[in-house]
Amino acid sequence: MNMSHETWIDIGALADIPREGGRVVKTRAGCVAVFRAADDTVFALDDRCPHKGGPLSEGIVHGHSVTCPLHAWVFDMGTGTAQGADEGQVGTYPVRVEAGRVLLDGARLMQGRAA
């Protein structure tokens, strides 16, 4: 990859994401779900459950986990790993908040998608 540096993309204000909720960022290779936990930590994951493709962005957020709206698989939003008896993994992307803006790492987005 030719990108060694991070390219942070401003995707909007933190206030645009409801607490304990998620929003979607569309990319060419599919949607990324951006979540805001009750403590204002922000996460970015592939918006696609490995089970049946459910949109994780529409799941119920509890603590730092999200439950898929279609069949209730639970994912750790930090690692993207399915919890409990289910086995599966979704991609995660570096995301951070600066001065109330949510920044998503565009370089990692491209790498993650190309892999």
Binding site: I9, G12, E20, V25, D39, D40, H62, G63, T67
Partner: protein, 811 residues
């Protein structure tokens, strides 16, 4: 050696501490000139709260008095604001003239953030920063005066408590869901709110200030939700921002604060900055501990010694007498992090430790903070806590023993708390029955009637038995609500009412939830229980809802949604059908389908199109059909006496009336009705949750049918003569279900549990109770009988993707 000229702008706590260190390390090294915009020297600003509350005076909190400055030979320019820094010629200008410097320290601190609302400049609006603000609040906070504090953080709460101690009626308005959200998690925030409310302070969370009202001076505060609080004084304590104007004008590097390196040096090597005005490694500083560290480092640097500023962990305590809280470190949830939670509902104690690997990284405590500094030490030192993990939460003095008691919530109930709602039996009566020999559930039932009717309080009665009898009573195993708690759904519902719990964090704290924020199973259930029990107090938590109810549409397997407009009683018009057809064309709806409930379903609508299609359907007079809700779905009808030669009554008319009565209500699970105009029953009313079959003499109401996973005929509830009676019985029955059933149980499951006879006794035989139930249903409907589509159609941006990167150029 000639003394160098050191000019300091700002006589606050950071620069004051720095001066002390510098004079000690290098006496006589500098000629010091100290500017301060306030007409006084350094005082302990963080002790203004005890001054406000009357526990201290200004004289008690002065750090450096005139004698001290004179003894150190400091040239004091108090009340002389600096207006400009000339870096080229190294001169600082105040409103009185210029002073040259060799080295300059900017310690301008921070300025309170003023929210940009109408009325912010009215007399009577103040901030909470300095002695002038404090004196303004002391003057205003007379007994009986009304004060509003905007901001429920550290500063705002100290202002509120101080004014309340002086006799004012204080209201705190806080934008976030719980108080002090930067230092506390929701559970601790809830306990704090409870403690403040207990001392008479009104707390309004999730309150956004819209305007400050008043003509000559402040009179009231208006919130976005329409609430108005009368106010003789308004204190804005919503946050601070670094005061960087001088540095900006001098073209120093400034981000959010004045950018400094590890020696507190700005982008100009002759200029340093310290305190709340600086930004170090992208971090700002508001608490005093890191400022004192900065003071040490800057004094050493100015004395040509080597020193490096490394911010350390800080701990927070609230300086409000009687509110014991403590937080330190990082207590956000995170991957690889684990929580140890301890709750003692009876004593109002909450402790939470956050571990990462073998180390403690954060702690939040409320009610019992005695071990706070010990935990803080473990966090700062990065101590390996593996060996003491089992007993860590009990603190350093732990010597083995007690486990958290799952029955603490019931044990803590006062004797007058009602356990059995049906028969009005309180805890004290049950306890005396048990002490009188009733040592089994059946004996308690026989002697007190507790849990002898609907049975939903059985679990609680058993817990009272266990608490009273100790080990001699063996609790039968009951299915807990979810893995977050040992309580059953029924126990939780009963305790919400008995303890007056009105928020999700309140339930989780008082009932000893084991998880931090619940799970996808208990959060929707608690949200329902709270809105059903406290329709006027509790506000629906949209984020605790399953996707379909959150988005007011049913999600399909491909992530699109279905849209079903309401057709009252299954009756439509050519105009409505045209509007539906137009919407289907306009939004390229892939399938238009007639449903089993006599509605039209538009399937395959994209999420971002939902607000627009709703607006179009609203324009044609249609509202949400709630085809997605645990609530009233449809009232299906046949044509009835108006057209049908067999019809005995106006079944369509009654169906429409029932639907207009019930629509918008939330119920434990979906509710479907039907009204048939004669016993031929073309509307299939006898397999619905509630069915009405019209006969010549009136209306036969039957309930608890099913036609899904289970198929079951309805059971006869009663026959009534008039439409009005039918409607009152049905509203009362639905309310009985709303108040008593566990979440997700359809009516037929709930009736199987409580028994049809019990339902009949409540809504058929006891006319006063029927009326009361119908009235409570109407109170709830005054909040929920409205179209959610109309509300959300106003905010289309919330439904679109947050950002579309597909149109960005490739790398």
């Amino acid at each position: 050696m000639m003394a160098e000229k050191l000019v300091i702008i700002g006589a606050g706590m950071a620069s004051g501490r720095m001066l002390e260190h510098l004079i000690e390390a290098a006496p006589g090294r500098y000629d010091v000139t100290l500017f301060n915009a306030e007409p006084r020297g350094n005082y302990n600003r963080i002790m203004l709260s005890p001054v406000l509350s009357g526990e201290k005076t200004y004289a008690d909190i002065v750090t450096h008095d005139a004698d001290w400055y004179a003894a150190q030979g400091v040239d004091c320019r108090f009340g002389e604001p600096v207006v400009k820094i000339d870096r080229e010629r190294k001169i600082v200008y105040s409103n009185q003239g210029g002073v040259p410097y060799d080295k300059l320290v900017i310690a301008t601190g921070s300025a309170p953030f003023i929210i940009p609302v109408a009325g912010k400049e009215l007399p009577g609006v103040c901030t909470y920063r300095d002695l002038e603000d404090t004196n303004a609040m002391i003057a205003a906070a007379k007994p009986g005066a009304k004060a509003v504090v905007i901001g429920g953080g550290l500063l705002g709460l100290e202002a509120a408590a101080g004014m309340q101690l002086r006799g004012a009626e204080v209201t705190v308005i806080h934008l976030m869901g719980h108080l002090m959200e930067r230092q506390l998690d929701p559970a601790a925030g809830y306990l704090l709110q409870k403690a403040l409310e207990a001392r008479g302070i009104t707390v309004h969370c999730k309150g956004a200030t819209k305007a400050i009202l008043g003509k000559e001076r402040v009179e009231a505060v208006l919130l976005d939700d329409g609430t108005i609080y009368d106010a003789d004084l308004v204190c804005m304590a919503v946050g601070i921002r670094p005061e960087t104007r001088l540095a900006n004008d001098a073209h120093l590097e400034v981000n959010r604060g004045i950018v400094v390196d590890d020696q507190l040096r700005s982008s100009d090597p002759a200029i340093f900055a310290i305190g709340e005005c600086v930004e170090h490694n992208s971090q700002l500083f508001g608490l005093v501990a890191p400022l004192y560290d900065q003071a040490k480092v800057l004094a050493a640097t100015l004395a040509d010694a080597e020193a490096v500023f490394r911010p350390v962990q800080t701990a927070t305590k609230l300086k409000v007498t009687g509110c014991d809280l403590f937080s330190a470190g990082d207590f956000a949830d995170g991957p690889g992090r684990e929580d140890i939670v301890f709750r003692d509902p009876g004593r109002g104690v909450y402790k939470r430790l956050v571990l990462e690997g073998d180390k403690l990284i954060g702690a939040v405590m409320y009610g019992d903070t005695a071990d706070g500094s010990w935990f803080f030490g473990l966090i700062k030192d990065g101590t390996d806590v593996t060996g003491m993990r089992d007993t860590l939460i009990f603190g350093p003095g732990f010597a083995g023993g007690a486990k958290a008691d799952p029955m603490a919530a019931v044990a803590a109930l006062p004797p007058e708390a009602e356990i059995c709602g049906c028969n009005g039996v309180c805890k004290g009566k049950i306890v005396s029955a048990i002490e009188g020999g009733a040592n089994t559930l059946d004996l308690v039932r026989a002697s007190t009637k507790a849990s002898a009717s609907c049975g939903t309080c059985t679990g609680l009665v058993e817990q009272v038995l266990a608490v009273t009898l100790g080990d001699s009573f063996v609790m039968p195993a009951a299915q807990p609500m979810c893995k977050c708690t040992d309580h059953t759904h029924e126990d939780v519902r009963r305790l919400i009412k008995a303890q007056g719990l009105k928020s999700i964090p309140a339930v989780m704290q008082e009932l000893g939830w084991r998880s931090v924020g619940g799970c996808a199973s208990c959060r929707p259930a608690l949200n329902y229980y709270l809105l059903a029990d406290w329709p006027l107090d509790y506000r629906d938590d949209r984020q605790a809802r399953f996707v379909n109810e959150r988005n007011h549409a049913n999600i399909q397997k491909d992530g699109t949604y279905s849209v079903v407009p309401r057709m009252w009683g299954g009756v439509t018009t050519p105009a409505e059908l045209r509007a539906i057809a137009d919407a289907a064309d306009k939004y390229a709806v892939p399938m238009v389908k007639v449903t089993g409930g006599q509605r039209i379903d538009l399937l395959g609508v994209k999420k971002e199109d939902l607000p627009a299609i709703w607006a179009d359907l609203n324009d044609a007079g249609m509202v949400s059909g709630h085809a997605y809700s645990k609530g009233l779905r449809t009232v299906k009808t046949c044509v009835g006496s108006e057209f049908c030669r067999f019809g005995t009554q106006d079944s369509t008319g009654l169906g429409i009336k029932l639907e207009k009565l019930l629509w918008g209500s939330w119920t434990p699970a979906k509710v479907k009705l039907a009204v048939s105009g004669c016993p031929r029953n073309c509307a299939e009313a006898t397999c619905k949750d509630v069915g009405v079959v019209c006969v010549d003499s009136g209306y036969q109401i039957s309930v608890a049918g099913a036609a899904g996973m289970d198929v079951k005929e309805t059971e006869f509830l009663c026959a009534v003569a008039t439409e009005e009676e039918a409607m009152e019985v049905i509203a009362a029955f639905v309310q009985l279900y709303r108040e008593n059933s566990r979440y997700l149980h359809r009516i037929y499951k709930w009736v199987a549990k409580v028994g049809l006879d019990w339902c009949k006794a409540q809504v058929v035989e006891d006319l006063a109770n029927r009326k009361a139930l119908a009235e409570r249903f109407e109170i709830s409907q005054s909040v929920y009988r409205r179209d959610p589509w109309a509300e959300h159609a106003q905010r289309p941006a919330d439904w679109a993707p947050m950002m579309d990167l597909t149109r960005e150029a490739a790398e």
